[in-house]
Amino acid sequence: MRQLLARWLDGDVGYSFRTSPVAMLAAAIAIVCLFCAVFAGWVAPHNPFDLTTLELGDARRPPAWLAEGSRKYLLGTDDQGRDILSALMYGARISLVVGVVSVLLSMVIGVSLGLLAGFRGGWVDAFLMRLCDVMLSFPAILVALLIAGVGRALFPNAPNTVAFGVLILAITLAGWVQYARTVRGSTLVERSKEYVQAARVTGVAPLRIMLRHVLPNVLGPVLVLATIHIATAIITEATLSFLGVGVPPTSPSLGTLIQVGNNYLFSGEWWITVFPAVMLILIALSVNLLGDWLRDALNPRLR
């Protein structure tokens, strides 16, 4: 492991990482956020999802350093008496799960279909690309809205898990198209390269060529897309919460927290919305910065 890390740090990408303070800062932020999210159960001072621990009386406490703040709640509490700090950690977990899983899923779907379209060509390609057109003409937010609605109607009473599933599905369905298009484009380019033909001359089966030869070579732009997509997925989730079809309110994501807090902006309870927003910005910022850096680092011409 350490060796691997050392090797990586020594490689081209690693070097550009070591020499880019922005990338390192972004990575540090991302790691902290990730850590808080993954280990929320241990790190967080309270469990905001455990209804038994909520004290209505403690609702809407300002952060600890303000007049009515309490040491118990460092960043204050929301309208249900949830500790904001803990909610942030747990919320980040949900947001990250929703973001990462939906991005992974879109990536898998998009990349496979894109590969297939680019590699097979012909009617498969034509069909898949029309499918993309159809998907694109349902703008992301609409797809998500409709799917979320349908999901709710189909599984009305298994709220928590299914609601997440539906949400992820919705964001996935809206997201895969980009990957498919990108991958198809690069596949078309790669397919005509001679190393692919060499493999064909050798008698390698098309599926293997697709997976072993073409796939690794088209993944570059996909990775860059994905880093940006994670941020947009998290925000889409927040937006869906705003439209009332997000995750269940008892286990709020960052988006839900922002959306709930939104209602308290005018009444001066800014911390309910500002801290989750800052957290979201940090996550999005670090992921985006990493994506930007990765794009440049992976481009040999910029080295």
Binding site: D133, V150, F266
Partner: protein
């Protein structure tokens, strides 16, 4: 050229029918309009009656077929909730959304492109780093929060701009425009900024990336070797080549703008289609939802067509290809 347009039209029809189909399929699940239509004391047989009267008890495909048949004639029926012709409701709302989206798109382009160019030309400078980082805020903050914050600052605290609505509109034919009056412009400022921010960021980053690519190409190097001025190189050669890929994305994004207007419209009570749609979703107003989605698909297809045609204007290589050459 004609063949190209015809082919696109055919594709458009296929896309739209599919969109309608999927939309229709989804509607089966978004809620039951009958419950909303009948008041609190409806009896079961009343519900059944209304259901059959509205044709909701027919098999799915029959319903879809009817819908298609009517939709082709531009007939989407009456809004279940408002009792007014859907086509009319949409027509009343359409100008608002389109004006908002167009202004936002213009804003995104007019600010995003120069900023992207700047960031590319001054790669690594403090200003461009600042732009790039600040712009990330645009993609990391949910639109609704940006909207509310703008309202809080510019309407409530400073009182510079109104917080809701379109203001005074002027009727030009069937088109009610808010852009003919000062009041209308005054009202569109905050919503269009809110709507534009996300796209602006995207366009700016895209332009920067593309511009950097283009600046590395041989013809730019050759243009330098020919002793052209920087202005001619950057804005004559590089920018035009940058715009080719940027156009596609911008086209797609314009479609997204119209959809994203849902949120902006909700926040600013902008009387556009998005607001209509989101209310229709809440009340399972199927005809309105269907018409809206079809319209969105139509707009999308139209934008795509326009983008493709623009390609012809910009890129001479395609002109020949479309004329049947290779």
């Amino acid at each position: 050229m004609l063949a190209f347009i015809l082919r696109r039209m055919l594709q458009a029809v296929v896309v739209m029918v599919t969109v309608a189909f999927i939309a229709f399929l989804l509607f089966q699940y978004v809620g039951d309009p009958v419950v909303f239509l009948l008041g609190q004391d409806a009896r079961p047989e009343q519900i059944r009656e209304l259901r059959s009267a509205l044709g909701l008890d027919q098999p799915f495909f029959v319903q879809f077929w009817h819908f298609l048949g009517n939709a082709v004639q531009g007939e989407f029926g009456l809004s279940l909730r408002q009792g007014a012709k859907v086509s009319r409701l949409i027509a009343e709302r359409f100008p608002a959304t389109l004006e908002l989206a167009l202004i936002a798109a213009l804003l995104a382009l007019l600010v995003g492109v120069p900023m992207g160019v700047y960031a590319a030309l001054r790669r690594g400078s403090f200003g461009s780093q600042l732009f790039m980082t600040l712009s990330l805020l645009g993609v990391s903050l949910p639109t609704f929060l940006i909207g509310i914050l703008l309202i809080l600052v510019f309407s409530v605290t400073l009182g510079w701009f109104p917080s809701f609505g379109r203001g005074q509109t002027v009727q030009v034919g069937w088109w009610g425009t808010g852009l003919a009056t000062r009041d209308g412009w005054h009202h569109i400022v905050l919503p269009s900024i809110t709507l534009a921010i996300f796209q602006l960021t995207l366009i700016m980053r895209l332009v920067r990336a593309e511009m950097l690519e283009v600046l590395r190409t041989d013809y730019i190097k050759f243009a330098r070797a020919r002793g052209l001025s920087n202005r001619a190189i950057h804005f004559g050669h590089a920018l035009k080549n940058t715009m080719v890929p940027v156009m596609t994305i911008t086209g797609l994004q314009l479609g997204q703008l119209i959809a994203f207007a849902i949120i902006t419209e909700t926040v600013f009570q902008w009387p556009g289609m998005g607001l209509l749609f989101i209310q229709a979703v809440t009340f399972a107003d199927i005809p309105v939802m269907a018409c809206y989605l079809c319209l969105i698909a139509l707009i999308f297809v139209a934008i795509n067509l326009v983008v493709d045609l623009l390609y012809f204007v910009v890129d001479p290589r395609l002109r020949v290809a479309a004329a049947g050459g290779h």
